[in-house]
Symmetry: C2
Subunit: 285 residues, 2 copies
């Protein structure tokens, strides 16, 4: 159908948001709207400026025959800061304290808008990595993994505690839970991961990091590589973490024998401000 | 910031897509863009036409002091038909048959784009219902529930097979699995549902409907109401289903003792064509 610029802008925006990290050829759009490629290029310039100013993401143009345009979701530093500030306010509530040093987060992680924003934030950190799959451990990590995976345009693989008939043959490993020191099992369907796949591991909560370490080992069993690790909330512990080099959005401390908790930003904000990661907060804003 | 029409259109489109089923006042947009309400109204007319032509959804204008605009995601009949056709093609593969009359769908439900499209389709069926929460049973239903819940702007509540320390106090019921006739337990945190809440129940697979019936009973325990039920795949069975009045996207048959399966559209397409549901397929297209 032939569309005017104003309609093209609306339609292209919808299309790009639904197809992150995918290369869309200019011909696709010019056929879709029966418009010249030069007009499409002008449209994309308008969208690009807008996406960058508003912190929606980057629009990357790839020249040449295999070229086109690719929308890379990217939350800017200011939105990340505001989003984490809002979460901290909601989560620093002693009514949320549960036995065993856990925190009640079910209501917050039950909100799809919050989960989608977490997904956009984590995907921003790994925007320049090639991600073939997003891995998580059932159950609480699942919504987060899908939110991240959508923004990375990658499938989700869900690790389970035991094998299920609906998943066909599986690979399983034993691992030691970091906090309880108990031996536990994790299982992944054999068809889930290809050799050499680059895996982003995502989870909702990390205490000592035993589960995360298990998922690293499981990734190795498939001949796949860990491209990155991200957790929503990490808990400050007396014991050192079993894994390093992960991104955390929030950091929880529960002082011993006191009925209080504190929540601060995790290391994710270093990504927006850190010297080794592409410049100052201003640049990334 | 002051924006030109072309930039406003891009930004408003992003904003509307991220805030389905929410009333946004014209003042919000006119403040955001430092533009007259009359210009905003014109912008919305362009977006509305486009969303309706392209099957993105409806844009509902609510007049008066509490008024504004609301974006209601709605997949049209043609997109629904094409989407189901694609799924049927991928799923009608005897390699997917598993012992016990199950189907391997982990790869398909691992794709966030597929899951999001299922969410848009189910949300379309319930577009005119007030939905306060989307309920599902762990584990496979979770991604679907979030995809639906985002489009309905409602939180997700996840029913579990046993209570977990991270969820606080819980309500549990026993139910009889429809296929295996075994007594099983389902559990939901006490804080999950308010009395009178209207609940949309979503699941990935239904055999006899025992799990679905359990979730109906559990909803009743909270003094909440079932606003609707939807399953991705229902399986044809010799025994009659334990529940009625649900929406299914696909219907699977596995003839006894034969190594084949067939997959056809579920009753969801009646919504787009049925006489009692607002008109012909053409109208809903």
């Amino acid at each position: 159908m032939k569309l005017r610029r104003s309609s093209r802008l609306v339609d292209m925006t919808v299309y790009l948001l639904r197809h992150p990290h995918q290369i869309i050829s200019l011909s696709y759009f010019s056929d879709r709207y029966e418009s010249a490629k030069s007009s499409i290029s002008e449209d994309l310039t308008i969208i690009k400026e807008n996406f960058e100013t508003q912190g929606v993401g980057r629009l990357q143009t790839l020249p040449g025959a295999a070229g086109g345009v690719s929308y890379l979701p990217f939350m800017n530093g200011r939105e990340a800061e505001n989003f984490l500030a809002e979460l901290k306010e909601q989560m620093t509530d002693t009514n949320r304290l549960l036995p065993g040093g856990y925190l009640y987060m079910t209501d917050i992680l039950g909100r799809p808008d919050v989960v989608n924003a977490i997904g956009r934030l984590i995907a921003s950190v790994f925007v320049d990595e090639k991600i073939d799959a997003v891995m998580t451990m059932e159950t609480k990590g699942i919504p987060l993994a899908y939110a991240v995976a959508f923004q990375c345009s990658a499938p989700v693989v869900v690790v389970r505690r035991s094998s299920k008939v609906t998943e066909g043959s599986t690979v399983s490993i034993n691992y030691i839970s970091g906090s309880s020191k108990r031996i536990q099992t994790m299982v992944l369907p054999r068809r889930s991961l290809k050799k050499g796949a680059r895996v982003l591991i995502v989870d909702d909560f990390m205490k000592a990091g035993g589960t995360m370490k298990g998922m690293i080992n499981l990734t190795g069993e498939f001949g796949a590589t860990v491209a990155g690790m991200a957790v929503f909330v990490e808990k400050e512990d007396e014991q050192p973490k079993l894994v390093g080099n992960y991104t955390s959005l929030l950091r929880l401390s529960i002082p011993e024998q006191e009925n209080r908790l504190s929540m601060e930003n995790g290391n994710v904000m270093d990504f927006f401000t850190g010297p080794g990661t592409g410049g100052s907060l201003e640049n990334r804003r």
